[in-house]
């Protein structure tokens, strides 16, 4: 049975307007030509290194971009355009975001009340109790303040803010930083559970290994571009991967040889023309500096001129 598409993003662009010296304005493109889709019950991970602008993807979908950012492209939610008016109605109900860090919790509001958005009726209270026992959080935690929680507890509390609703789409922004291996893994498993319950889950993370353990599909994000969109199985061996960067990532995983390549991703302001990975790529040639198509290869997508 074909699963229904929950979220589809087509050619999304996000750029910042920045003031340079004096009054000169400059557009800084942070996300370029990003396309992805999330189906019901599917967990998709967008993996990219820090500072590649992937958090803005979540903010863009939720309609909470800062005032100096602008977004282009198309976002479809359950087949229909997700307009600003529509996201206002849906966010916090059908579409939920799980934030990055404790700073996204109000420091002066008790955890329980905060999860219920200040409205604690009997139904919500009951649901909250269920969620807490599911995540093995003590009932007393409801009466605590965010600063009293440990890192792992904070994580579970933030996932609870999503669970208290009936989400069809969950967008998690960096759900595992600062957590030790075990806590990070269990956090990811909680998202997996949400997907298994039928929601579409979009995880934005820098941790490829962790993503590979739980997600169904992985998008590789590099300097604002999506270089590859691959099934998790494709990561079993190097040959099924499509893009040289993804292959390099694969080889950097300890059990696959722990090899690294030199260089860092280019900063938005000095982006090379054509493929952003070209300066670090061993197969770089003349045609890599021209227009690079994003095309379908073996059931996945790749932004590269070579056929792997």
């Amino acid at each position: 049975m074909e699963r229904k598409k929950i979220l589809e993003i087509k050619n999304m662009n996000i750029s910042f307007c920045q003031y340079q010296k004096g009054m000169r304005q400059e557009e800084l493109p942070v996300i370029r030509d990003l396309s992805l889709s999330v189906h019901e019950g599917e967990m998709v991970a967008v993996v990219g290194s820090s500072g590649s602008g992937k958090s803005l993807l979540a903010h863009g979908v939720m309609g909470i971009l800062p005032y100096n950012a602008s977004m282009g492209g198309e976002i479809l939610y359950r087949g229909e355009p997700l307009t600003e008016k529509r996201i206002r109605k849906l966010r916090g109900k059908e579409i939920v975001m799980v934030p990055q860090s404790t700073s996204y919790l109000d420091p002066l509001m008790k955890v329980g009340t905060q999860i219920c958005k200040g409205k604690k009726d009997l139904v919500r209270q009951k649901k909250l109790d269920q969620i807490f026992s599911r995540y093995s959080l003590a009932k007393e935690v409801q009466e605590q303040y965010p600063f009293e929680l440990s890192g792992g507890m904070t994580r579970r509390v933030m996932i609870s803010t999503a669970m208290i609703e009936n989400p069809r789409l969950v967008i998690a922004d960096e759900p595992t930083p600062g957590l030790h291996q075990k806590a990070a893994k269990s956090a990811m498993e909680h998202f997996r559970e949400l997907a298994d319950m039928g929601a579409g889950v979009l995880i934005i993370t820098h941790d490829l290994e962790l993503a590979l353990e739980t997600a169904d599909r992985v998008l590789v994000f590099y300097a604002g571009y999506t270089l590859e969109d691959a099934k998790t199985e494709d990561f079993c061996k190097e040959e099924t991967l499509r893009h040289p960067y993804t292959k390099a990532l694969w080889r950097a995983i300890p059990k696959n040889g722990f090899q690294y390549i030199d260089g860092v991703q280019p900063y938005v302001k000095d982006m090379p023309s054509g493929c952003p990975f070209a300066p670090r790529c061993s197969r770089c040639s003349e045609k890599c500096h021209g227009e690079i198509p994003y095309r379908e290869v073996n059931g996945g997508y790749v932004r590269c001129v070579y056929d792997s």
Binding site: M97, Y104, K117, G118, Y145
Partner: protein
Amino acid sequence: MKTAKFITKQMIKMFLLLLAVSIVAFALMTASPVDPLQANVGQTALGSMSPEQIQKLEEYWGVGQPPVQRYMAWLKDFIRGDMGVSLLYRQDVTKVIAVKLANSLFLMIIAWVMSGLLGFILGALAGMNRGKLIDKVVRGYCLLISSTPAFWIAMLFLIIFGVWLKILPIGLSVPIGVEASGVTFLDRVYHAILPAFTLSITGISNIAMHTREKMIDICESDYMLFAKARGESTWEIFKNHGFRNVLAPAMTLQFASISEIFGGSVLVEQVFSYPGLGQAAVSAGLGSDMPLLMAITMISALLVFGGNLIANLLYGVIDPRIRRGGAVR
């Protein structure tokens, strides 16, 4: 244990502060060129007096005694609770102050509550709606008021409401030509309206501007963004998060602003001839009434210190991070 330590520390602080304030106030008065005899008796009267009479007066005003000796004598009495006799009013300083303080407190409390409430509301509104019309109006008002001297505004109101419109009295705290027993509470309120209003108006701008800054910080925080992402309406966001987070700093500000209200009251009372503590302070200073001025100085220092202390304590009560975190300052 912690509380006991905190209280002891605050008491020592207060004691040292009062001591320092009294020394400075006394030194300033001693250094002032005001000649008490000339100021209070008058040049002409002084000229027609015999040397014996002048000497008697000099003794009364303490002229010629070494300052250190005078200060020590004052301090000894003050510690025993005796604030001396006012040289100008020829009454116990305690009595004079009781009357003046009651008048001033009436005025200051109205102004303090009004400026606090209005300042908070305006500041929060402006902060939540940064850059919009309401923000511009509030900011414009605040900048205008805070760059205008309080006494000038007082005079302006006096002209408008007292002289042109004639709806409010031009001064004093009670009606003229009425016996003390015949003065009603309403009379007092009626006379306090203009000075209290002036004081509030000038107090608002400070509170509003600070609250606005704080509110803007809060609005830029991650938790406000998350609240928006969770579909909370602007009102819910304010009610659930904005208000909660701006309250503690606003309260601190409110109690710390006692000093400003006090300072403002000196000028405003002067303009409205309102017989309060501020006016008494001015006449005591100009008339070299050492005991009265010292007492007023001490009381105002206490009031301001008390305000700041309450602000500190309140922070601990409101903010759970301090209350539960055990980080008692």
